[in-house]
Amino acid sequence: PQGDYIELHRKRHGYRLDHHERKRKRDAREVHKRSAMAQKALGIKGKMFAKKRYAEKALMKKTLAMHEESSTRRKVEDEAHEGAVPAYLLDREATTRAKVLSNTVKQKRKEKAGKWDVPLPRVRPVAEDEMFKVLRSGKRKTKQWKRMVTKVTFVGPSFTRKPPKYERFIRPSGLRFTKAHVTHPELKCTFNLEIIGVKKNPNGPTYTSLGVITKGTIIEVNVSELGLVTPAGKVVWGKYAQVTNNPENDGCINAVLLV
């Protein structure tokens, strides 16, 4: 048979006499078969199927609710204008002033504490034994002054290792990253930008100097491809971003741009 032989056969001979009946019954049976499978399927298959089915159910419920929306009656909500104040409170101003005052107090406190307005103000502290792995060296493997960094690091392009004999902190090359996935908080899109340097690691200045990147670290990224321009007319090519994931667990650095 060549070409559209199926359609040709249908055109010439039509359908089987019981075709439509059988099709209808088969489709009706599908429902029962699906439910039987849902009840019988075990293990991972069962879970996946149940998840899919639940999604379908939720969607169906939503559409039904939407259809019923037009027929149900709802209470009419009078939108209260923001800042509207009832008549007996009209002459009061003291409260608003007080708020302003407490805000300034809060800001001062924040500045003292060193908490900045960043997306992740607080992060889980990373202990030293979690950060470093002790390497034994020496002829009898008794010396334990070497440390290997277990987290992701950034070393600059002009980095050269110290002679191995004197190297105290080892940053393995497998854990060195040069690029980060940076999200612009307003545009909501993500770019793959190069890291220029590590500005501050909240766990301590040692880590900052080593270039260790953990969750909450502020890094400086090359944003020249975004094409940002200062009001003065100069092209912005470096901006700060804060790391939002654990890079050693995910294999990549995700950050949020600090605008």
Binding site: Q2, G3, D4, L8, I44, G174, E248, D250, G251
Partner: protein
């Protein structure tokens, strides 16, 4: 020689299904159990294996896709062009390229993550790295899913393309739409192409095969071409143009001289002239179709002129091939596909032209010389001038001549049939050659059922003989019958009848009696009178013995009789006996006296006799005193509780706190049924 059959390409799965397949395979084929306490190298190996396995599977599947789809530059230009026309070469190449990049990306991801896994120092870290790796691979595939869908569509369509061999003998049919191309191919081959009165019924190429001089020819039917500038042509027309351009075939240009296709001869001629460049180096034949509607001779002047022009063009191609000047008939042919007039002639002409051309080309090419060198027809050198013709004996010659004559003389049934209208019209008379005693019987209708019997059961060539035999047998039998006396069913005399009845009655009586007397469980009492079957021990006997001893037996006898069970119902009698004369004013009650046997059976034991108070328990029946018996009676009462027929709830009706506890009604079983829990 590659067979251009695109049916062998494996199915391309959709993006989501692809991911599901690979991930479930990873889950099934790699070890699944791992614990926190294992050695770190073991943990790392476990997760690295999963990542690598997934990458390998993706690589495999994507490679099969890339390899199986044909590369448009590597196949015959006809197919390359056809696929370009149908699927757009650029889109096709892009899709395959995307699949290729996806494959490379997945490889890179796998490499990077395996490197990172080497630094994993805890189960959690390795696990998250593996999850990230697999997730990224799946994202790559998700991004590529539109290409996968496109390739699946292409594959499905490609599988249904006709398998045309571009290098073999081919005849190509072209012309305007609705000219009669599909009808022609239906007539000469077995291709069942759809023929309809509207234009563009044929929307793609169709292939049929036909034979000529023991060689197989491909006949290709194309969709109609309209006379338009090249850029404006749609995909369907482009298919025909591609076929015309790339296949080395004999071309049959169809012309509808009746104009019933909706286009005049002038338009068709215009089309011819616009595509005549495609007819270069190909044997061309102009076919005037639909001569049943419009005979060729009745064409108008202008039309005839146009046709002649086309013929001249076609002649040019003939001469251009450097062959012999073929007669004009080989270039312009008339036929009608509907009444099948001239169809075979057209086919033969086309096949002949094509064959000649191919043979010529082959002769001219270098390859043929190798073959020719190997042929050598050896002719014997003539020894002298004597003629030596072939010798056929006389007898054989005569026989041959006679055969030929006979064949011509004898009229076959087949010829008779043909004369009288053909197979469907004429039915041969099968009874013509019957050999019967009377010639008139030939056309008679034989009955099959007569008087409810099958005639054929009675038909026998030796039937008369058999009849005689039967009669003989019957005669013998009748003689035998006369000797026998039949006992059964003879008439009885009335006395005999009476006697019979009497006998029967007696017999039944005897049977009844036996049944009554028979000691079955129903008829005999449960306690046999085993102590006194013969009834020897009567009160009279007792009296006699006592008197023999010298004692007065009367009181004893009275007492015994009074205690007898069978006299229970005779109260009146007793009182009468005691009272003596006092009972004269007795109200003689007519009491039914039950038989002694019955009384005995109904009587109660002594302990339960009516003369005692109801609560009193008499020791007896194996108990040493009343207390023990009372205890025994209590036990009996306790052991079997009387049924509570009030239909109220009792202790036995337990309560069910929850009617459907979850742990009994939920859960799936991997093996077995859940008909009970």
């Amino acid at each position: 020689m590659v067979q251009y059959n695109f049916k062998k390409i494996t199915v391309v799965p959709a993006g989501k299904d692809f991911i599901d397949i690979i991930l479930s395979r990873t889950q099934r084929q790699t070890p699944t159990v791992v614990h926190k306490g294992y050695a770190i190298s073991r943990l790392r190996q476990f997760y690295m294996r999963k990542v690598k396995y997934t990458q390998q599977n993706f690589h495999e599947k994507l490679s099969t896709i890339i390899d199986e789809f044909p590369r448009l530059d590597d196949i015959h230009p006809f197919y390359g062009d056809l696929l370009h026309v149908l699927y757009n070469k650029d889109h096709y190449k892009l899709a395959l390229g995307q699949i290729n990049t996806a494959r490379n990306l997945i490889g890179k991801i796998s490499k990077d993550y395996v490197k990172l896994l080497k630094y994993g120092d805890s189960l959690y870290r390795c696990k998250t790295l593996k999850v990230a790796a697999l997730g990224r691979m799946c994202t790559v595939i998700k991004r590529v899913s539109p290409s996968l869908a496109y390739l699946e569509q292409v594959r499905q369509h490609m599988a249904r393309l006709p398998s045309i061999d571009p290098n073999t003998r081919t005849i190509l049919i072209c012309g305007y739409p609705n000219v009669g191309k599909s009808s022609f191919i239906n007539k000469i081959t077995r291709a069942d192409v759809d023929v309809q009165p509207y234009a563009f019924t044929t929307k793609s190429l169709f292939v049929g095969h036909t034979d000529y001089k023991y060689l197989r020819y491909q006949v290709i039917d194309t969709p109609g071409i309209l006379d338009r500038p090249f850029e404006d042509r749609n995909i369907i027309e482009m298919c025909s143009i591609t076929a015309l351009a790339h296949l080395r075939a004999a071309i049959l240009f169809f012309l509808d001289i009746s104009g019933s296709c909706g286009y005049s001869i002038a338009q068709q001629a215009a089309l011819f002239h616009s595509i005549k460049s495609l007819f270069m180096n190909k044997p061309l034949i102009i076919i005037c179709n639909k001569t049943d509607l419009q005979p060729f001779e009745n064409l108008s002047e202008e039309d005839m002129k146009l046709v002649m022009e086309m013929k001249a063009e076609a002649m040019k191609t003939v001469i251009g091939q450097g062959g012999e000047a073929i007669d004009e008939e080989g270039v312009l042919l008339k036929m009608s596909a509907l009444i099948e007039d001239g169809v075979i002639a057209v086919k033969n002409a086309a096949c002949e032209r094509l064959l000649n051309q191919r043979v010529e080309l082959k002769m001219k090419s270098k390859k043929i010389n190798d073959c020719l060198n190997r042929f050598h027809v050896a002719m014997p050198k003539p020894r002298d001038d004597k003629e030596r013709p072939a010798f056929i004996p006389e007898a054989v010659l005569e026989a041959r001549a006679k055969e030929a004559a006979e064949k011509e003389k004898r009229k076959l049934e087949k010829d008779l049939e043909d004369e009288n209208g053909g197979a469907g019209v004429y039915s041969a008379s099968l009874k013509k050659h019957y050999i019967l005693a009377n010639e008139e019987w030939k056309e008679d209708i034989m009955p099959e059922i007569l008087d409810g019997h099958n005639v054929y059961d009675f038909v026998d060539p030796d039937i008369l003989q058999r009849l005689e035999e039967l009669e003989q047998e019957e005669g013998l039998r009748q003689e035998e019958e006369a000797d026998d006396v039949d006992m059964d069913g003879e008439e009885l005399t009335p006395e005999e009848k009476e006697a019979l009845a009497e006998i029967r009655r007696k017999k039944s009586f005897l049977i009844q009696q036996h049944r009554i007397k028979k000691s079955t469980a129903e008829s005999r009492p449960t306690v046999p009178r085993k102590f006194d079957k013969d009834k020897k021990f009567t009160t009279e006997r007792m009296g006699r013995q006592l008197s023999a001893l010298g004692l007065d037996p009367s009181l004893a006898i009275e007492r015994a009789r009074g205690r007898s069970l069978s006299r229970k119902g005779r109260k009146r009698e007793r009182s009468l006996a005691r009272g003596g004369s006092d009972g004269d004013d007795a109200m003689d009650m007519d009491v039914d006296q039950p038989s002694s046997k019955k009384l005995r059976m109904r009587s109660r034991s002594r302990s339960r006799s009516r003369s005692r108070p109801p609560g009193e328990v008499v020791p007896g029946q194996g108990f040493k005193d009343s207390a023990q018996k009372v205890k025994a009676i209590k036990l009996v009462r306790k052991s079997q509780k009387v049924r509570n027929k009030d239909a109220r709830r009792g202790d036995a009706d337990r309560t069910i706190p929850t009617l459907k506890p979850k742990h009994l009604f939920s859960g799936k079983r991997s093996l077995g049924k859940t008909s009970r829990r």
